[in-house]
Structures are given as C-alpha cells and as structure tokens.
C-alpha cells in the first residue's frame, strides 16, 4: 500500500477554466457578475429592470443558466440584450467550462457588463468560480428573513446581497434588521441593496454600484 500526498483543490480544473475566463474578461474590460438565488427570487426581472435603467449607455450581455427552456434568454433578447442560454439538463449549477463554451459560441459584441444568471439554487452554485468579478445573492422578501444563516456559504461569498421585491414588505413578515445583522456576520464589508423590479425602487442605486465597479475595474483599482 502506498500513500500519496496530493494536496490539490478538488475543483482545480474548474478553477483553471475560471482563471482563463477571468483573464479574458480583464483583457476585454468586461465586468462579470454572477447572480445566485433561489428559483423565483426575481433575478431575470432584476436584469430586465437593470437593462431598462441603463438604456444604451452600458453594453450588457447575459449568460442564462437553467435546467430547461430558453425563457430567460428570450426575455432579455426581447430587450435587445445578446443572451445565450445554457441548458444544464438537470445539473444544479453552472461551471466555468460551460460558461467558456457558451461565451465562445455566443460571439458577444464588446460588453461593458456580462451577467451570468446561475441556475436557481442557493447551495450548489456557491462552489463554482465562473471567472466573475463578484457574486451577487438575490433574496426576495417572500423567502423569509432566516435565509442568510440557513445558507451561510452563499451569503458569505456574495459581495452584494440584493433584497428584492421590497414593494411586498408591507404584506409579508420579513425583519430587515435581522437580515442585515446576519449578513454583517457572514460578510462584514458586504453591500446590501433593496430593490423592486416592479416599482423601480433601488434600481438606480444598484445600477450605480455596477457602474462604479466597472469604472474601478477599467482603472485597475481592486
């Protein structure tokens, strides 16, 4: 019996693919945002509101991850956004190799921001680096205010948590302070933004955040 010391990341291959993607996005000056949430939290609606708000000032593209259907990509294409749909056929997350294939096939024009909308799932996508600049967790107020501590992995990795559907706050029991306190524990320097794609509340601040990150990236400030 031989014991061999390996000391290798299990997802080394995914991480190598993510590094290649990240280098390519850096060379192109494209800001890449990995959106992660439960199904139905409003990721696509947030993107629609974002695209409407940014107008033509910022060139946006999207990679949509779903188990089935082209619906999300179609919704964004209807707004003139170049979008490519990855169908995972049952897999619960996107990996960097899928994103590399999809962006290769999509032949996007030069983009300011590429949104990667992950498969709706708060757990599995957390482990996979997709070459993004940062992860965004979207938590809708109808999901309950206990979620950050129940899913600490994603909420500790997400630079931004978007609390969506805030127009429904008067109708649901959702303690914003409790959520903020959980998020502070998991990600002390993280940003929390409140949005409603329905009323447009908070969309401006979200877009301003994106534009600031884009400016910083192109200036080379971390």
């Amino acid at each position: 019996m031989t014991t061999v010391d390996v000391r290798q990341r299990i997802l080394a291959e995914n991480e190598a693919a993510a590094r290649t993607l990240r280098d390519g996005f850096a060379a192109a000056g494209t800001l890449v945002v990995n959106l992660i949430s439960s199904p139905g939290s409003g990721k696509t609606s947030l993107l629609e509101a974002t695209v409407r708000h940014l107008g033509g000032r910022v060139t946006v593209g999207a990679v949509e991850g779903d188990i089935a259907t082209e619906r999300d990509a179609d919704r964004l294409r209807a707004l003139g956004v170049p979008a490519v749909q990855i169908l995972t056929g049952g897999a619960c997350h996107l990996d960097a190799r899928q994103v590399a294939r999809a962006t290769g096939e999509a032949a996007f024009p030069r983009l300011d921001i590429l949104f990667i909308e992950n498969v709706g799932n708060l757990i599995c996508p957390t482990s996979y680096d997709l070459g993004e600049d940062f992860k965004v967790a979207v938590l809708s107020v109808t999901e309950g205010d206990d979620k950050p501590f129940k899913y600490p992995a994603i909420f500790s990795r997400a630079e931004v948590t978007v609390i969506s559907k805030v127009d429904l706050l008067p109708h649901v029991r959702f303690d914003l302070d409790a959520v903020r306190s959980q998020l502070r524990t998991l990600r002390p320097a993280g940003t929390v933004l409140l949005t409603s794609a329905h009323t447009g509340e908070g969309i401006e601040a979200w877009c301003a955040y994106l534009q600031q990150r884009l400016t910083d990236k192109r200036r080379g400030t971390p």
């Binding site: 019996m1 031989t2 014991t3 061999v4 010391d5 390996v6 000391r7 290798q8 990341r9 299990i10 997802l11 080394a12 291959e13 995914n14 897999a91 619960c92 997350h93 990996d95 757990i123 599995c124 957390t126 482990s127 996979y128 501590f149 899913y151 600490p152 992995a153 994603i154 500790s156 990795r157 306190s181 959980q182 502070r184 524990t185 998991l186 990600r187 002390p188």
Partner: protein, 120 residues
C-alpha cells in the same frame, strides 16, 4: 446534488494520481471539506460510492475531513466556538459581532494505492 459532480472530479484526479504512480487500485481517498463549501459530506460519500461502484476501484473508501469555519471575535481577539449547526451573530462572551473566516476547504489530501503486485 452537485456532490455527484464533485465525486466525479475527485475520482478523475485520483485515477490520474494512480496512473502517475505506476498503476494499481485505489484503496482510499482522504479529502477536506469546509463548512462554507455547500458540500454535504454524507451526500458526497454516497455519490462517491455510485461513481466507483462499477469499476476496479469499487472498494475505494472516501474519507471526509470536515473543516469548520472560524468565527472570530475582533473585540476579544479570539476564535469563538459556535454551537452545533448554528450561526451566532454575536460573541457569546462580549456580545460583539463575530467575523467568519475559513471553511472554504475543498481539497484532495491524500490517496492510498494498492500497487499492481498487491492486487488480488
């Protein structure tokens, strides 16, 4: 359910390690899994058994070393233990906010190989 993809990745890497060491059978693999990786150890072992079931390495064991995230209290300057399966927003001693660190391990630590001459 991404544990299945992860079990596949582990197996591919282990097979390459076995081949690089002159071939043989995989006897055991030791991996580290951090609390903040969103990987469930029991499901990973279950997925591993499914991955190796059909081949020559069907007896290979997967041993998971579970690594907890640290909850650090900057006010006390010390790590604080969290209660089992609980996320404490505040330090149990001084009541200050805790910081979370580590727990992102997802590594293959070592493999045990039965060389071709040891195989029965």
């Amino acid at each position: 359910m991404h544990e299945l993809s992860i079990a596949h990745e582990i197996y591919r890497t282990c097979r390459a390690v076995v081949a690089a060491h002159g071939g043989g059978t995989l006897a055991a693999v030791r991996v580290a899994v951090g609390e903040l990786t969103a990987v469930e150890p029991d499901l990973l072992v279950f997925a591993w058994e499914a991955v190796v079931a059909e081949g020559k390495d069907h007896q290979a064991r997967l041993e998971v070393e579970w690594r907890q995230a640290r909850q650090f209290c900057p006010a006390c300057g010390a790590d604080k233990r969290q209660a089992e399966a609980s996320w404490l927003p505040l330090c149990p001693d001084c009541g200050g906010p805790l910081q979370v660190a580590g727990g992102d391990d997802l590594d293959i630590l070592s493999v045990e190989i039965l060389g071709p001459e040891e195989e029965s």
